[in-house]
Symmetry: C2
Subunit: 228 residues, 2 copies
């Protein structure tokens, strides 16, 4: 499903060039759960942003299904993301003036889903992540982990074909982490969705089918896990 060929990403800061990704090659079959680990600054978020079409590569190709993300125009790219991708951001990216419920149903608004159905589906997913009594709170009226769970609810509400999760459990205690992991894995299995998860937690990383290790913008190691 996801094919990455010799992917490079360079940033410019002043007259310095930062090589965030230096040549990534990776194939991810539909329905796989793959985790990405590596030290702070190794390129994990950058890789996720490019895989999901949020940023363009400097060189190389990223193909999802039949769509060549590095080639298609911005409007088509944004439609593609809206229809196929759920993204859980490392810093949540919730809209401050909106409540948990309003933030959660944003992807449904973009797909033209009516108010009544949005409310039903929004409440349902918020209940699943344990936030049914925080539905009408705005982000600054919630804890860090509660905001993270709204971000997760918003990513899942569309049953996307691919879920990209950047540190989805970084602000959660172990019990809530386990519940969220179970939710992500179960939703992915039900829809045969691909789950690509960046994490610093080796216990979380080992729940995947496969784990790739980044260091200085390159894949230095791959681990395959057998779960029963």
């Amino acid at each position: 499903l996801v094919k990455i060929k010799d992917l490079k990403k360079y940033y410019r800061v002043g007259d310095e060039r930062i090589e965030a990704l230096r040549g990534i090659n990776l194939d991810i079959p539909q329905g796989e759960f793959i985790s990405i680990v590596g030290t702070s600054g190794s390129g994990k978020s950058t890789l996720l942003n490019i895989m999901s079409g949020l940023e363009r590569p400097t060189k190389g190709e990223i193909i999802i299904g039949k769509a060549s993300l590095n080639k298609i125009k911005e409007k088509r790219l944004s439609d593609f993301r809206r229809d196929n991708i759920g993204f859980i951001f490392q810093s949540y990216n919730l809209l401050a003036p909106l409540t948990a419920l309003e933030n959660t149903v944003l992807p449904l608004i973009f797909r033209g889903i009516g108010k009544k159905e949005r409310e039903i589906r929004g409440k349902e997913i918020l209940k699943i992540v344990g936030l049914e009594d925080r539905m009408h709170n705005r982000p600054n009226q919630m804890s860090g982990g509660q905001q993270q769970r709204v971000s997760i609810a918003r990513a899942l509400i569309n049953n996307p074909k691919i879920i990209f999760a950047d540190e989805p459990t970084g602000n959660l205690d172990s019990k809530t982490t386990e519940e969220i992991l179970e939710l992500l894995i179960k939703s992915a299995k039900e829809n045969n969705s691909t789950l690509v998860m960046v994490t610093h937690d080796p216990v979380v990383a080992a729940r995947a089918d496969r784990s790739i290790h980044l260091k200085d913008g390159l894949i230095i190691k791959e681990e395959i896990f057998n779960h029963e």
Copy 2:
């Protein structure tokens, strides 16, 4: 040094009352390293915010040294924080238009320290957290963990008497986590500073002298650790 007596904090959302803290009693001697754990939403950040004077309690007392934080006026409270407290936020709270170096030296500007000395001290602490080649990057030009480390550098640059850290290693891999922990513990020891750290990582929590467990706004357990 820090005395908390029957501390309560209630929030109002619509016509609902959320009891974030329901009666906290805690004494922290100068120089102690205490960790605070608990599930998402249990009141950890709220407790930290009140202990450091960033929020006022609804009921109860918070005394640091001779200062009664719940009683003193806003201006005196803000001077007290500036002179005595370093705070590492769960969501970093960096200023977007400023570089890593400029964000880091903000506490020195507030204390009237001159430009030359600010630059020397800022570069020194950024080098210690491994960010000397990101000094002139703004937050959106840095990874999550790099932003977290700038937040840490900024909190330490004043050698504050009390360091409050809200999930300081949540976005860091295990190697960087260890380096940052060593730094925080070492800086605290050198200045006989008190270190109050919220964390979800039980390994990090166990590095403290003592750990308190919050659940639904109350302390339900205390653990004491003996380190050699």
